[in-house]
């Protein structure tokens, strides 16, 4: 026991003294990216093989917590790259003035055209309600069908104030229904079993059989099929379309390693990076590698299913939608 304490203390101190003979590239990202089963470790190895540098990931909660942290640090931030913001945060992040333009013009395999001068996408996905075929024979195929479903069909969603998918659903309803969003939330309220702080609580409760459907991603069933050999999970595909989440990275203007940062952004589009994404981050690669998706991974929905909110409209829309959501669900 004593030994493990000492080892932990030693690991902690060792990690603080970064390798001194190589330049360090610091990348801020979200928690699940750097975990042992996330993309982080493989990407670190692959990039360090070609950069003669020390790639250092720093984890900070999720996308929104990441942006909050960056704002706390301001231009003193140690970060060279921030990886893991999504389309709902891009405008707010750009407005901080902390990021530098990427200067890259490249094509991406996204259902929409990408033209942002500051941020580059590295993966993407669709929000969706996931269900278990063993418990729910027929899932609703649209929002309308969900609203009309039998009373015992209950869903779990996440709180938009603390969770990225939660915010995604807020924008999804807004994109489909616009000004009708408050009445849709009021109609949805009795179906909502509960609202959780994060994705993990919601998904854990769904797997335990608490609710028939949970807000997650269209790619969630692929995880169960590939990693657990379980083919019972499905994403309910809605005819109104699905809200997209595009995850992006950007270079900080204050970076002391601007060349290395550019090299990383270029590397981000390579097959070496992109081929890691599907089975570690469980999202679609922003540049499809020649080998395509791994076997058992569901192909993405076509471009006609893709719903988006223009990045510039997101901040105002998100405040309005949150107020409507709170009013509809607080009773």
């Amino acid at each position: 026991m004593i030994r493990s304490i000492l080892t932990a203390a030693a690991t902690a101190t060792a990690s603080l003294a970064a390798a001194d003979d190589q330049p360090v590239l610091t990348v801020y990202t979200y928690d699940s990216f750097v975990s042992d089963w996330g993309p982080g470790p493989q990407i670190e190895t692959r990039f360090e093989e070609r950069c003669a540098c020390d790639l250092r990931f720093v984890a900070a909660g999720d996308g929104a917590a990441l942006l909050a942290r960056l704002k706390l640090e301001g231009s003193r931030s140690a970060a060279d790259i921030v990886l893991g913001l999504d389309t709902n945060l891009v405008a707010e992040a750009a407005a901080t003035g902390l990021f530098a333009p990427h200067g890259v013009s490249a094509a991406f395999d996204l259902p929409i055209a990408w033209e942002d001068p500051v941020f580059l996408p590295y993966d993407w996905g669709y929000f969706a309600f996931v269900y278990d075929t063993a418990r729910l024979a027929q899932a609703p195929d649209s929002f309308e069908a969900l609203l009309a479903a039998p009373a015992d069909l209950r869903i779990i969603v996440q709180d938009p104030r603390s969770s990225t998918p939660g915010l995604g659903l807020l924008m999804w309803v807004k994109a489909v229904y616009g000004d009708r969003a408050p009445e849709i939330w009021a109609a949805l309220a009795p179906r909502i079993l509960t609202v959780t702080k994060g994705w993990s609580e919601a998904y854990g409760m769904f797997l335990d059989g608490e609710a028939e459907m949970v807000l997650s991603y269209t790619t969630s069933p692929s995880y169960h099929r590939i990693a657990e050999n379980d083919d019972t999970k499905r994403a309910a595909i809605f005819s109104e379309g699905h809200m997209m989440q595009i995850e992006v990275a950007g270079k900080l203007a204050s970076s002391r390693q601007p060349d290395l940062a550019d090299a990383f952004l270029t590397f981000m589009r390579s097959a070496a990076f992109q081929s890691v994404i599907p089975t570690t981050n469980w999202m679609y690669p922003a540049v499809m590698p020649q080998t395509g998706l791994p076997e058992g991974f569901d192909a993405p929905l076509g471009p006609d299913a893709a719903l988006t909110i223009p990045a510039a409209d997101a901040p105002a829309l998100k405040a309005e939608a949150l107020a409507e959501w709170l009013a509809a669900l607080s009773n």
Partner: protein, 546 residues
């Protein structure tokens, strides 16, 4: 006659305390040092709270004002915290009494297991609770089989259920500690006098409850007040948002640092106001120190005969309520734990221990200093000193964390300070518990031996070694165990400061869940449970009389 004897002894002990106080104020060097230690502890705590607040305010002085959503959050926070504290205490009194007067096989294990719910990460506790009480749980299955509707716990009831699950064991352990401080002589005397159960309650149990319960209720209230994930998830929707949710939203969603500070201050003011109010009702039990320290009394011979069945029912029902959700977690995690968890989880176990042990020691030291100060000052000023000790619970970890981060970041690398800051903040967070445990024991000690040690000139190390430690050994050891377990399971501040390869066990649980690995996460949660039980067990050994 008993009443007369008690009044007499109360008068004597008051006189003794007065004597002790006179001697201290006469300026014995030790007393001054003592006071200095206590005052600097209080100063450190205040600084630790005020500095982050100031940093937040300095960064964004503008966006003030409370909206309707904030007012709703305050109302819900106060309502659920009051109910949670009231119910936890109301259930803990009969449970602790039953456990104090009954001995049965597995008694020690059961009391030890009561240490587990308290340290579970919120996410795991929620899953454990819904595994029993949820729509897919056994109770719902039984109802469905009978043709009734499935349970829907989500709402105020669910929130209170969750908080009782967390806190009933805590209050029970605090009360058990209170029951053993009633000297054996008193129980024997009561038996000789043929006291009725009602008389025993009036003369022995009520004074003890009056000493312990207000503080215990306060702890539960503060814990429930700062609840986030449990309140939201079991509350069923944003109507169950606490102030803590509003603070998180201000930080993460709106990035309005001024509001973070304002809401943090509001939360702290509510907690402090309640502390000053509740602690007023607390009274020293004035039992004095018994001479018979070897054999701890089992006051079961005083209980009425039918009480056996009542006690058995109470213990059985509580065990079911508290242990069933734990069992649900353990069953899920056992397979993964046996099959071997990812290596990083075991590294996280080491980190958690490296944080927990120094933090527990620091917490005990701070509590000793502050408890002495509170006793020296007495009255309102003593209660203010105690209230300062509650800062850790009444202050949001988001406020402390982000404020400290703002302070540290310009002058030092936050990652380099990850462990020291976490150790310090965790020590402050567990200080209130240590304080509650130590205060009654130190008050008794002072009343019994204060004059004697002062007149014999026993001070400093000798007093600590030969007088203080033997008398507070039991509560101090329990406080150490509690602080270590709390610190090992805390998630609060480390998330803002930790470099990615420094991961504590609760952080590992969250990260595993975030990556779909629910089974491994349950295995890591089980490991965390075992770790805290191990810490409590060690503390129990340390607290045993030599």
């Amino acid at each position: 006659m008993a009443r007369g004897a008690k009044q007499l002894s109360a008068r004597q002990s008051r006189r003794r305390r007065l004597g002790a106080r006179l001697r201290l104020s006469a300026g014995s060097v030790a007393g001054v040092l003592h006071r200095a230690a206590g005052l600097s502890t209080a100063g450190l705590l205040l600084a630790l709270f005020l500095a982050p607040l100031t940093a937040l305010l300095a960064n964004a002085p503008s966006d003030f004002g409370l909206g309707p959503a904030d007012r709703a959050a305050v109302r819900f926070t106060l309502l659920q915290a009051t109910l949670s504290a009231g119910l936890s205490c109301a259930l803990a009194v009969p449970l602790a009494r039953a456990l104090a007067r009954r001995r049965f096989p597995g008694h020690g294990t059961l009391v030890l297991l009561f240490g587990a719910p308290f340290v579970l990460p919120a996410i795991v506790a929620v899953l454990g609770l819904t595994a029993i009480w949820g729509r897919g749980g056994p109770i719902s299955d039984a109802l469905a089989w009978l043709g009734a509707a499935r349970l829907d716990v989500y709402g105020l009831g669910g929130v209170v259920l969750g908080h009782v699950f967390f806190n009933l064991p805590l209050v029970t352990r605090l009360l058990l500690q209170g029951w053993v401080t009633i000297p054996a002589e008193h129980w024997r005397l009561a038996q000789h006098l043929g006291m009725t159960p009602g008389a025993v309650f009036r003369h022995l149990e009520r004074p003890m409850l009056r000493e312990v319960l207000p503080g215990a209720a306060l702890l539960v209230f503060l814990l429930a007040m700062t609840s986030f994930a449990v309140a939201l998830t079991l509350g069923g929707g944003p109507g169950a948002s606490t102030l803590e949710v509003a603070i998180y939203q201000a930080l993460r969603f709106d990035f309005a640092l001024g509001r973070v500070a304002l809401l943090g201050l509001l939360q702290f003011a509510l907690g402090a106001a309640l502390a000053l109010l509740l602690l007023r009702y607390g009274r020293d039990s004035d039992f004095g120190q018994g001479l018979d320290l070897t054999a701890r009394p089992v006051p079961n011979r005083l209980a009425p005969r039918h009480a056996v069945w009542v006690d058995t029912t109470i213990i059985g029902a509580s065990a079911l309520l508290l242990l069933a959700p734990l069992a649900a977690v353990a069953i899920r995690g056992a397979g993964a734990l046996a099959a071997g968890l990812p290596v990083s989880v075991y590294r996280a176990l080491g980190t958690s221990l490296a944080v927990a042990l120094p933090s527990a020691a620091l917490s005990l030291l701070l509590a000793l200093g502050l408890a002495q100060l509170a006793l020296d000052l007495g009255g309102l000023r003593g209660r203010i000193a105690q209230t300062i000790g509650l800062i850790g619970l009444a202050a949001s970890p988001f406020v402390l964390g982000s404020g400290l981060f703002l302070l540290v970041n310009p002058i030092a690398d936050p990652f380099a300070l990850a462990l020291p800051v976490t150790i310090l903040v965790n020590a402050v967070m567990s200080l209130p518990f240590a304080l509650r445990l130590l205060l009654p024991a130190l008050a008794t000690l002072r009343a019994s031996y204060g004059t004697l040690t002062a007149s014999l000139g026993i001070t400093g190390w000798a007093r600590l070694r030969y007088v203080t430690w033997p008398s507070i050994r039991r509560p101090a050891a329990f406080a150490l165990g509690l602080a270590a377990a709390l610190s090992a399971s805390d998630l609060g501040v480390i998330t803002l400061f930790a470099p990615p390869d420094v991961e504590t066990l609760p952080l590992a649980v969250y990260r595993l869940m975030g990556a779909y690995r629910m089974t491994d996460a349950m295995g890591a949660a089980l490991l965390l449970m075992l770790l805290s039980l191990g810490l409590f067990w060690l503390a129990g050994r340390l607290g045993r009389d030599p």
